[in-house]
């Protein structure tokens, strides 16, 4: 087992940051801790690292109880959100730091050290920057140097705190894929914290969704997306339309062809791509019209306006391939009918 957490709790004053977290992460996984800000994900990462003490509970790394060990003895690599590179050292010295502070007996010779640092620089494809200072690098370069520095001590666990949070959108996209490939190459158990569900889906092999200091769900990206176990996960991952049976919606929902089979609750969560849209010229049969639409690339997002019986209006989001949208030849204001193919039910 790579990382094991038993009953981890942490409180800041009256605020409960983590509430009895139990989590097992197998060796070699790349796990995303996903959740909204304030859900406790960074606190959990810092407790695993030893940068924070848990009020209660135990941390095991590779089967060893490290709860009372200081960060410097835990053999972890930590990558900080704002890089935390040593500003007064060159890139080379930054990466060499972890090797130079080793006890004398374990310290590599200068030749070994030089070789190790250059091989790490090649790994992150930045060997040509070795004599620069951190202030002279771009954000993406700094983050890669921070990663190389963390890898220099050959950590048994790699922890990354919002690693792409401070980067431009395009750099972030590149780095995500790069991190995934790097992980395939090194296979070191890694956890990264993010509030961006897209990022978690794209990079991680396992996602742990946190909310209010508790684990909502843990699974592969497909499991999380296709089988959300809680109301929160369904809303947080991807876009969701929410219909409640309590609001006298059952007749209307029935008419959309939704299946109540296996319904566990009274609230239906429907993904936008599970709504089929048909054009209807006949106003009597429908109270939904197309308000607006956005081009998202291969898909089109429709913003539909539905007149509720109580006189209010609600917005429903549907998505379809752009060819389908062209076939339908919808324009703003057109009346439409909906067919719902799949729903998740919650209480």
């Amino acid at each position: 087992m790579g990382i094991n957490l038993h009953n981890i709790s942490k409180q800041f004053g009256q605020f409960i940051a983590l509430d009895a977290i139990n989590l097992a992460i197998p060796e070699g996984e790349l796990v995303a801790l996903l959740g909204p800000s304030g859900c406790g994900k960074t606190t959990l990462l810092r407790i695993i690292a030893g940068l924070e003490h848990a009020d209660q509970g135990e941390v095991f790394l590779k089967g060893e109880n490290v709860t009372h060990q200081s960060i410097k003895n835990r053999q972890i690599g930590f990558v900080f959100q704002h890089y935390a590179l040593f500003r007064h050292m060159t890139v080379f010295d930054n990466i060499a730091f972890g090797l130079r502070v080793k006890p004398k007996k374990l310290r590599p010779t200068p030749a070994q050290l030089r070789e190790k640092v250059h091989s790490l620089l090649q790994l992150v494809q930045l060997d040509w920057l070795h004599d620069r200072f951190p202030d002279q690098l771009s954000g993406g370069q700094r983050q890669r140097i921070a990663l190389a520095r963390a890898l220099a001590v050959e950590p048994s666990v790699l922890l990354l705190d919002e690693p792409f949070g401070a980067l431009d959108a395009s750099v972030r996209k590149d780095l995500r894929l790069w991190l995934r490939h790097l992980h395939h190459e090194l296979n070191v158990t890694s956890i990264f914290v993010t509030h961006d569900q897209e990022e978690a889906m794209e990079v991680a092999s396992q996602i742990v969704v946190l909310n209010h200091g508790k684990i909502e769900q843990k699974g592969t990206p497909s499991e999380i997306y296709d089988h959300p176990q809680t109301d929160f996960v369904s809303r947080f991952i991807g876009q969701t339309n929410v219909f409640s049976l309590q609001d006298n919606e059952s007749n209307w929902l029935d008419a959309t062809g939704i299946t109540f089979e296996g319904a566990k609750g009274i609230v239906a969560h429907v993904r936008p791509h599970h709504i089929m849209v048909e054009k209807r010229d006949d106003a009597a049969h429908t109270d939904i019209f197309l308000k607006d639409w956005q081009h998202l690339g291969a898909t089109i997002r429709l913003e539909l306006n539905r007149q509720l019986p109580n006189g209010k209006a609600s917005t429903i989001y549907a998505e379809m391939p752009s060819e389908k949208f062209r076939e339908l030849a919808l324009t703003k204001g057109d009346r439409v009918a909906l067919h719902i193919t799949h729903a998740h039910w919650f209480n």
Partner: protein, 275 residues
């Protein structure tokens, strides 16, 4: 220089800077040099190598250097404590630090002399415990100069510590550095340039300090007589040329020392990639 700036302000600010420097710094200092020129080289040399003058120069510079070093050490610790931790009474401590700036230095000198003299509250106790006399000895000068120099150091280091990214410390620990290694290799290099500036300020202030020192020093020629006092003594004897000669040498020495400190700082920053 002829390149025009889009945002105005270069010409007026440069004019004010130059006028100020000429009126307040350059003209008075030139007057001092001119006055000194009344002396022949031989007379100048005789004044300078007089044992009493040499002793006072040695005392002024060594006491200022020692006091500035101690103030830098203490000031760094105090600044660290004030920036890193919060404790009851922190605001009060913060306000107390600036007190030496505002207090007439003579008052400080008199108070310190009273307390540290062999029969004073602390002086008596130190005398009994260690057999060391503070006031009316060169040691008293060092004490006064630490008091004067401390706020310069604290106020210079404080903003740098506040800005210091403590994630760097955490990064050092995560890479296996112990507390001492993290301090020496990460924290110290980052605050050292500021500490050096603080040292330079405290040192410069210490060399020129007069008011507090004369009350605690005892002012024995050859033993506890500082250079500024010697200048005043010469003035009181209407030896204006002699006073300016000593003043001029003091000026040159201070300038050279500050220049060395500033270049050291420039070199440090360059080495750390901050230039």
């Amino acid at each position: 220089m002829s390149q025009s700036h889009i945002m105005p302000g270069f010409r007026p600010t440069l004019s004010i800077t130059l006028v100020y420097l000429v009126l307040i710094v350059l003209i008075p200092l030139s007057a001092m040099v001119l006055k000194t020129l009344q002396l022949s080289l031989e007379e100048f040399w005789t004044i300078l190598v007089h044992k009493r003058v040499l002793a006072s120069f040695w005392l002024s510079f060594s006491a200022a250097a020692l006091a500035a070093s101690i103030a830098t050490l203490l000031g760094s610790i105090i600044a660290w404590c004030l920036v890193r931790y919060s404790f009851p009474g922190k605001q009060l401590c913060d306000a107390l630090i600036d007190l030496p700036f505002a207090l007439p230095t003579a008052v400080a000198g008199i108070v310190m002399a009273t307390i540290y003299e062999p029969k004073g509250w602390i002086g008596e106790w130190v005398m009994a415990a260690m057999g060391v006399q503070i006031a009316y000895k060169p040691l008293g000068i060092v004490f006064a100069l630490i008091f004067i120099g401390l706020p310069f150091v604290i106020r210079t280091i404080e903003p740098v510590l506040q800005e210091f990214d403590s994630a760097m410390e955490e990064a050092a620990a995560s890479l296996g550095a112990n507390r001492w290694q993290a301090f020496v290799k990460v924290i110290l290099p980052n605050i050292f340039p500021a500490a050096l500036t603080g040292f330079a300020l405290a040192f410069a202030r210490g060399i020129g300090e007069y008011g507090s020192v004369i009350f605690i020093a005892g002012n024995m020629p050859y033993i506890s007589e500082i250079v500024p006092l010697l200048i005043i003594t010469k003035l009181e004897q209407y030896d204006y040329a002699g006073a300016t000669a000593i003043g001029l040498i003091m000026l040159v020495l201070s300038f050279v020392l500050l220049l060395i400190i500033n270049s050291l700082q420039w070199w440090l920053r360059k080495r750390n990639g901050q230039l």
